[in-house]
């Protein structure tokens, strides 16, 4: 038996979480360093996974399989395809930055009791989320996936509700109320979606007799497994609903602006850049893989919802007065693109969607974390409270600009590649959809540039005149992320090579082929 590498990528952060939580109250600096070290160790393991993975090889690699609860037919079954590797890497890359950016976010206040250990709890919860997210990217057993998909809500819930943004307009009382409202809304939306999925998971077992994704795919390919049309559609809806809440897709998105607004910036990044990716990933892997016919049946509706997400999210982002909520609505727009890419059923679209998940993670992290640094300096989330920051803190303003430009998919930065692929994929099959989606880009330029203009340019407001520029720790967060954005923008080849074979498998699951170009067809 070889070394269980995939298990290790999850066990390390899980153990790290336990160890971090156990650090005594007085040694909270040690807890931070421990968390950082563990997250870096996980990154090393994730890189090892990527190195060991052979893009041209079998569909699921580095597989592990053990009986867990035979009475339920549940196996502890892990395996990654190219898409899984890409997202495990994304998670492992982002967590150290999240830890570093949140270095002081959970320092205890003077007034709090000595036994209350928020710092240890904060970093332990982040590592716990990392472990569960990684496992859900690696699980090839539907039940196993479901368990981590649901269980990660609990640490996320405590992160949102327990550690709010200290820059709040309404004072501590109002902050606490809104924070717990946001946390409860997050949990209820996701739990409701998840429980409906539970019914579908049970239904899947009744229909297919197995939870193992490779087994079900094989049985389907051999024609041994057929589902009734209605059964398949209902099960698809059960799964899709849970993922659409998580992703989030309009009209199930309303928890995201609350959660991202009230959480600290690093936790907001954790939500949108890491946890939400499980939703779009699962659409690609489980909805399309398990229910190909129903996926095709639902495509028109999903595409329309995705388009609404793109345009609606962008429009609301334009109208926001709060920096963090603006980024949240921008994310809703971007998730619309990802879901669009998944469901246009072309290989460019799905490769683009996968790349989009990675690139959106990095670009949002860059934008949001720098915005968090800005907000923590001034103590306000309102755009109107800023002005002329680029004269006072040029490095901060510069990194903020690059993060923003990445968000609007400027050519040369990573998100451009993925957005372009999604649009090409959309045009190939549904030209009208592609045209409407393109408006999202125009609006993205609007909200990003207006945000930059109002906060960074113009006359220096007296309140921001003394703002210090980025510190070393903050630079250590921003610089590598920007470097990554530029690198993947100029040279996306490694990522596309990783993802393309996996996308081909998914395409064959749904028995779709790319439409022939019009010109060749005319010959």
């Amino acid at each position: 038996m070889s070394f269980p590498l995939l298990t290790a990528t999850a066990v390390l952060p899980a153990l790290g979480a336990v160890a971090t939580a156990a650090v005594p109250a007085a040694r909270r600096e040690a807890a931070k360093w421990l968390a950082l070290l563990v997250s870096l160790g996980t990154l090393v393991l994730a890189v090892l996974v990527a190195v060991r993975f052979d893009p041209g090889g079998a569909r699921f690699q580095l597989t592990e399989s053990y009986d867990w609860i035979p009475a339920f037919g549940v196996r502890y079954e892990l395996g990654v395809d190219g898409i899984g590797v890409a997202l495990v890497l994304l998670t492992a890359v982002l967590i150290p930055f999240i830890v570093l950016a949140g270095w002081h976010d959970a320092d205890p206040l003077e007034t709090q009791s000595k036994r209350w250990r928020p710092t240890q709890g904060f970093f332990a919860l982040i590592l716990m989320v990392e472990a569960m997210v990684i496992l859900s990217f690696e699980a090839t057993d539907v039940f196993l996936f479901y368990i981590f998909f649901e269980a990660m809500l609990i640490p996320m819930y405590f992160l949102i509700g327990g550690f709010g943004d200290r820059a709040h307009q309404g004072g501590e009382e109002a902050a606490a109320t809104q924070r717990s409202y946001a946390a409860v809304k997050f949990l209820l939306y996701n739990l409701a979606g998840g429980l409906i999925m539970l019914a579908a998971v049970i239904g899947l077992y009744v229909a297919a007799g197995s939870f193992s994704l490779p087994d079900i795919l094989a049985a389907r390919a051999d024609g041994e497994l057929t589902m009734g049309t209605n059964t398949e559609r209902l099960l698809f809806l059960g799964f899709f609903l849970a993922f659409a809440v998580k992703a989030p897709l309009w009209p199930l998105h309303t928890w995201l602006p609350n959660a991202m607004g009230e959480a600290t910036a690093p936790v907001a990044v954790l939500i949108t850049a890491v946890v939400d990716k499980v939703g779009t990933f699962a659409m690609l892997r489980f909805c399309l893989g398990l229910f190909p016919e129903a996926s095709k049946w639902a495509t028109p509706v999903v595409l329309v919802l995705a388009l609404i997400s793109i345009v609606y999210g962008a429009l609301l982002a334009v109208g926001q007065r709060d920096i963090k909520r603006l980024v949240a609505y921008a994310s809703i727009s971007h998730f619309g693109f990802i879901i669009l890419g998944v469901f246009v059923m072309t290989s460019q679209g799905q490769s683009g969607a996968t790349l989009y998940m990675v690139n959106h993670g990095i670009s949002t992290a860059a934008l949001m974390l720098v915005a968090g640094f800005l907000i923590s300096r001034r103590g306000s989330r309102l755009i109107a409270d800023y002005g002329g920051v680029q004269k006072v803190a040029p490095v901060l303003a510069g990194t903020f600009l690059i993060g923003g430009l990445a968000t609007l998919s400027l050519p040369g930065l990573a998100p451009f590649v993925s957005e372009f692929l999604v649009l090409v994929g959309a045009f190939a099959r549904y030209p009208v959809v592609g045209i409407i989606a393109t408006f999202g880009i125009v609006l993205a330029a609007l909200y990003t540039l207006v945000l930059y203009q109002r906060t960074m340019t113009g006359p220096v407001r007296p309140e921001v005149a003394k703002l210090p520029d980025l510190r070393v720790r903050e630079l250590a967060v921003a610089a590598p992320l920007i470097a990554l954005l530029i690198f993947l923008g100029v040279y996306p080849q490694p990522l596309t090579d990783l993802v393309n074979p996996a996308v081909r498998h998914t395409m064959s699951d749904v028995q779709q082929h790319d439409p022939e170009p019009e010109v060749e067809a005319a010959k």
Binding site: F72, I147, A151, A176, S180, V184
Partner: protein, 553 residues
């Protein structure tokens, strides 16, 4: 109609041809197979003797010792029987057909004994209440007979009286509960019902604080329980009238029409479906009352709130185990031939129970009432497994009961810890900020709440998954959908308590978490450990439940 065409225990028995009264044969009793029940009931009788003859200051320790040893020995006897194959290959009927010794019976008896043992620890806790006149006191009234607020009550408190009778009462209740799911004829069922109900009525009335509330709860429980018992008894009479027998196996044969020899009396009644349907409905109703299913749930919140919290914990878990066991046996052994009649009704009951339990719980402001409504919702979930009408249904219900009862006992044990000057602080507003003041206690309670909510990696999830899967395989997919939707509603109020504990600022005059003796600590620790173990590694226990999932007839 001639005299011989009427069913009667006496006429059936005394019908030899020569008209003389035959010798009544001595019954054969399989003492070994009945040993778990006999140990517990014997210890209860011993407890009464202790109460009569042991000096007052030594009683508490003597009673605690007798009870703990009896419950542990009873459990050992159950394990011995199970190891000896009585749960599977050698399962059979003992005591002249009165008691079944089979997998479900032994499994549930084991669960009831363990839950009883854990509950015993919470009964015996004497450090939570401040000492009265230098005497350590438990959660029970100093002298049950003294009127609340009267001089005699004050005198009893001053004299340091404690109601050590609770220990034999607990043992009697446990004994009755052990017979209840094992009963193999309707009369044994009824007697077991009364044997465990009467001590519970008494225990409910014995709270040390808020005595009027406690007595009101007891009266309410007693009156409604008496009604339910009367209905059950009436149903038993009708079923006897139908089948000419109270034996489960015999009734089942008559229902299915496979009875060998039809006497004239039987020929006259076995076609009478009114007797059968009415009788079955009334008996089922009595059992649904005990499990707290809608629309027979009205007593639950008041009784749960008024009873002393240790009693509530015991009642909420062990009664449910016993009553669901009896319900399973009734539906699977006596009435499988009637499946097409009872399934639609039970579908409705299960759906309504889940929905009403979950929705009404949202508006509760008292933690004990909230847990009461949550127990109603859980009764609905369990019913979904009961009506699966498959072996998987039985084993999933067995597993759920084991999981649920330990979560419940643990949760109520935590409730006993949170106190202010007036005793237990059960109003939810007082729980605000508990997580900041006592992170460990709040975290353990959060684990119990998450298990109630059915979050993965807790026993509640494994149990819920098992019953829903059984229900879906049994063709009850709509019920599963109702189940998950009400789980989502239920999650809301469990989460609300967690919010309150962790995200609200503590109030300056809020309650404190009392430092418990090792007894309660052990009870909570066992509850939490079982919750986590059954959540992460349920396989062994699922196997156990599925091996135990066959009824004898």
């Amino acid at each position: 109609m001639s005299a011989s065409a009427v069913h009667g225990l006496w006429t059936d028995l005394a019908a030899p041809a020569d008209g003389s009264i035959a010798k009544i044969p001595a019954p054969t009793i399989e003492y070994a197979q009945l040993s778990p029940v006999m140990i517990v009931i014997g210890a209860a009788v011993l407890g009464i003797l202790v109460e009569a003859f042991v000096p007052r200051r030594a009683r508490y320790h003597a009673q605690l010792f007798v009870s703990a040893v009896a419950l542990a020995a009873g459990f050992a006897a159950v394990v011995a029987l199970a190891v000896g194959g009585h749960a599977t290959t050698r399962a059979g009927i003992a005591a002249e057909g009165a008691i079944a010794v089979d997998g479900p019976a032994l499994f549930l008896q084991g669960v009831i004994l363990l839950v009883g043992l854990v509950a015993l620890f919470t009964f015996a806790e004497r450090r939570l209440d401040p000492a009265a006149h230098g005497n350590r006191v438990d959660s029970f009234a100093a002298q049950a007979a003294s009127v609340p607020g009267s001089d005699s009550e004050k005198a009893a408190v001053k004299a340091g009286f404690t109601t050590t009778e609770v220990f034999p009462l607990l043992l009697f209740a446990v004994g009755g509960m052990m017979v209840f799911p094992a009963a193999n004829d309707l009369l044994t069922l009824f007697i077991a019902l009364e044997v465990f109900s009467l001590p519970l009525y008494l225990l409910c009335a014995l709270a040390r604080r808020k005595r009027l509330l406690s007595q009101e709860a007891a009266v309410k429980y007693f009156l409604l329980g008496a009604f339910a018992s009367a209905f059950t008894l009436f149903g038993i009479a009708l079923l006897y009238g139908y089948a000419g027998s109270v034996s489960y196996g015999r009734i089942a044969q008559v229902v299915e029409g496979t009875v060998g020899e039809v006497s004239p009396a039987l020929a006259g009644t076995m076609g009478n479906d009114v007797l059968l349907l009415l009788g079955a409905a009334l008996v089922t109703m009595g059992l649904l009352f005990k499990v707290g299913a809608v629309p027979f749930h009205m007593w639950t919140p008041d009784v749960y709130q008024g009873a002393p919290t240790p009693v509530t914990g015991f009642m909420a878990s062990a009664t449910k185990v016993a009553a669901f066991g009896a319900l399973l046996r009734l539906l699977y052994v006596v009435l499988p031939g009637l499946r097409w009649d009872w399934r639609p009704v039970m579908w409705g009951v299960a759906a309504v129970t889940m929905v009403i339990g979950a929705i009404v719980a949202i508006t509760q402001t008292d933690i004990k009432r909230l847990l009461a409504y949550s127990s109603i919702a859980h009764a609905g979930f369990i019913l979904a497994g009961v009506i699966a009408a498959k072996p998987e249904g039985i084993s999933s219900v067995l597993f759920y009961l084991a999981a649920y009862s330990f979560v419940t006992v643990g949760a109520f044990a935590v409730v006993t810890l949170v106190r202010d000057a007036g005793g237990e602080a059960t109003h939810l507003s007082k729980w605000a900020g508990l997580g900041r003041r006592s992170p460990l206690v709040a975290a353990v309670f959060a684990v119990f709440l998450l298990a109630f909510a059915g979050i993965p990696l807790t026993s509640g999830f494994a149990g819920k998954f098992a019953v829903f899967k059984a229900a879906a395989e049994g063709g009850a997919a709509p019920l599963v959908v109702v189940g998950v939707l009400s789980s989502a509603v239920a999650a809301f109020f469990y989460i609300r308590v967690i919010v309150l504990m962790f995200f609200s600022e503590p109030k300056p005059d809020g309650p404190t978490v009392a430092v418990a003796s090792p007894l309660t600590t052990v009870a909570i620790a066992v509850g939490a450990a079982v919750t986590v173990v059954l959540g992460v590694a349920p396989q062994y226990f699922l196997d156990l439940a599925s091996q135990a999932g066959t009824f004898v007839r």
